[in-house]
């Protein structure tokens, strides 16, 4: 058996089940709260955090900013397809370990790894998605036909074993059960039922696999709406811990069918090179405002938001 000797975030499936039984209430209770409350109650130092989708498309950017604002420490991040968030989290001192995925671009994060400021483990996007699926299926691992033959095996927590059905090598990746899953959705109700329009990475998988699920939503709709079109429900309420109403919660990314990404702001993030520049950004856009609403009002502005809505002229399929 070939296997890496690295740390993995792994929860025994039975421990996860017991956590679910004790903590995920099957009662439909109102879970609407502010982003401040949600992070204060549900994100702890040292937690393992995953999110959907990407920094530029329907990512939970406002929730990530709130985590930074509350100066969480020692987070382990599942960087499935992250661009800027991870850099921000590392720069703000929130994140000490990253499961890669795709590490995100920019010199800042690359240098942080090179300087040993953050520890990385080398998976792939598909491996992390497989791990999440295993977590959602309550099984200890998922077999894969890739990662094989590469250095990823050595620097991830995968194991290569002989498949008992073919006798040939197969790669096993351990289930992933994040402590926290952040997902920004088009619509939610107060109980946590949630709808995403368009594609996703692993929204239902991660909601089922995670201990705590924070849904931030562009809009809050009546619970009956979900029952009228059950095929559109991405996540049912009893998987969800908190619902936060955050219009433009994916900014500077876009939400398909609602508003486009803000390329100017993204260029500003891309341009960050030094620690000083990074601290300047954090101060101006995160620490320097008290919440998402103030961020929108004072740092983005109504005019810009209207422009981004206007640009989102493709609505087909997003309903």
């Amino acid at each position: 058996m070939l296997q890496g000797q690295v740390e993995i975030h792994f929860t025994h499936p039975d421990d996860f089940r017991e956590w679910v039984r004790e903590n995920k209430k099957r009662e439909a209770v109102e879970k609407l709260m502010t982003e401040r409350e949600a992070v204060a109650r549900l994100v702890a130092d040292g937690d393992y955090i995953a999110y959907d989708f990407s920094s530029l498309t329907r990512g939970p950017q406002a929730m990530v900013r709130e985590i930074i604002r509350q100066r969480r420490y020692g987070l382990w991040v599942c960087a499935e397809f992250t661009l800027h968030e991870t850099a921000l989290l590392v720069a703000a001192g929130c994140c000490s370990r990253i499961d890669v995925g795709f590490l995100g671009y920019g010199n800042y994060i690359g240098r942080a790894v090179a300087e040993g400021k953050v520890k990385v483990f080398e998976w792939t996007n598909g491996a992390l998605a497989s791990r999440m699926l295993a977590g959602a299926r309550g099984i200890p691992f998922m077999p894969m036909r890739n990662l094989l033959g590469t250095d990823g095996v050595k620097y991830s927590g995968a194991k290569v074993v002989s498949d008992p059905f073919t006798g040939e090598p197969v790669c096993l990746v351990p289930a992933l059960n994040p402590d926290v899953f952040l997902v920004h959705v088009h619509q939610a109700d107060v109980y946590g039922n949630a709808r995403i329009f368009g594609t996703n990475l692993f929204a239902l998988e991660a909601a089922m696999a995670a201990k705590k699920v924070i849904v931030s939503a562009e809009e809050i709709i009546d619970p009956l709406e979900f029952r009228k079109e059950p095929a559109k429900t991405t996540i049912p309420y009893f998987l969800v811990s908190a619902v936060v109403h955050l219009p433009f919660g994916a900014y500077p990314g876009g939400v398909p069918g609602r508003y486009e990404l803000d390329l100017e702001h993204i260029d500003k993030l891309n341009a960050i090179q030094t620690g000083e520049e990074m601290q300047g950004y954090l101060q101006e856009y995160i620490y320097g405002v008290q919440d998402h609403m103030e961020f929108l009002e004072k740092r983005v502005g109504w005019e810009k938001l209207q422009e981004l809505i206007r640009k989102a002229s493709i609505r087909e399929g997003y309903h």
Partner: protein, 268 residues
Amino acid sequence: MGTVAEFTDTEFMICSAARILEDKKTVFVGWGMPQVVAILAEKLYTPNLVQIFEFGALGPQSLTPFVRGTMGGPSNVFRSLQWTNMNWAFSYAVTGHIDYGMIGALQVDQYGNINSTLLGGNYARPKRRFPGSGGGNEVASLCWKTLIILKHEPRRFVLEVDFLTSPGYLDGPGAREKAGLPRGTGPYRVVTSKALFGFDEETKQMKLVGVLKGLKPEQVIQGMGFTPLVAEKLVELEPPTADEIRMLREEIDPSGIIIRGEKMRVPR
């Protein structure tokens, strides 16, 4: 329609790759430049190409101009055949439904093994760190034929990659299968800003099969960290056509975010 006299290295790579794709086939498209390759191919050569993205979109009729950074955004996934998620997207590849894969690389070795993770140092303390696999490992492992696209800098062609992120033929014939990778897969072409490589059927070593018009094979090979095989008959690669360039500069990427690069001319 003639070719143009001046173009960027990136534009040439994009055109060269777009000419390789086959119509009525599926292609797994990686982030950035491969997206532009697929769109160009669809517009000019392969109208019935079915693109698939790890973000869960299958067969879109992507709108132009290409919106940078939004593989998952409405323009890129416009009029898809299916919207699903990452686990399903990769399942199409594992089960053999995806003909081509297209990915970039930092370094590549003679067997087409790809590094997109780091340069220098060691894993814990690399000299320079890059994004890593993303979905590249899946694409290179699971699609039938992988196109690797990279800028033709000799230092990117190495004897041994600093980190083996995505598998080529590993250490030679039979090695992929021995490692447990799907049978009959592997790198198909390496598209660079000066040349086109294939792989020898027997030895699985990289083989120069084409050079940009006006260049000599020696100029292309010079400085590479390994000596590639050279095909008996080398193809002369046409520089970008006026059509291709117009499409790229005016329709697909007018902001130039992808296509800008080092300026090139066809040597005469």
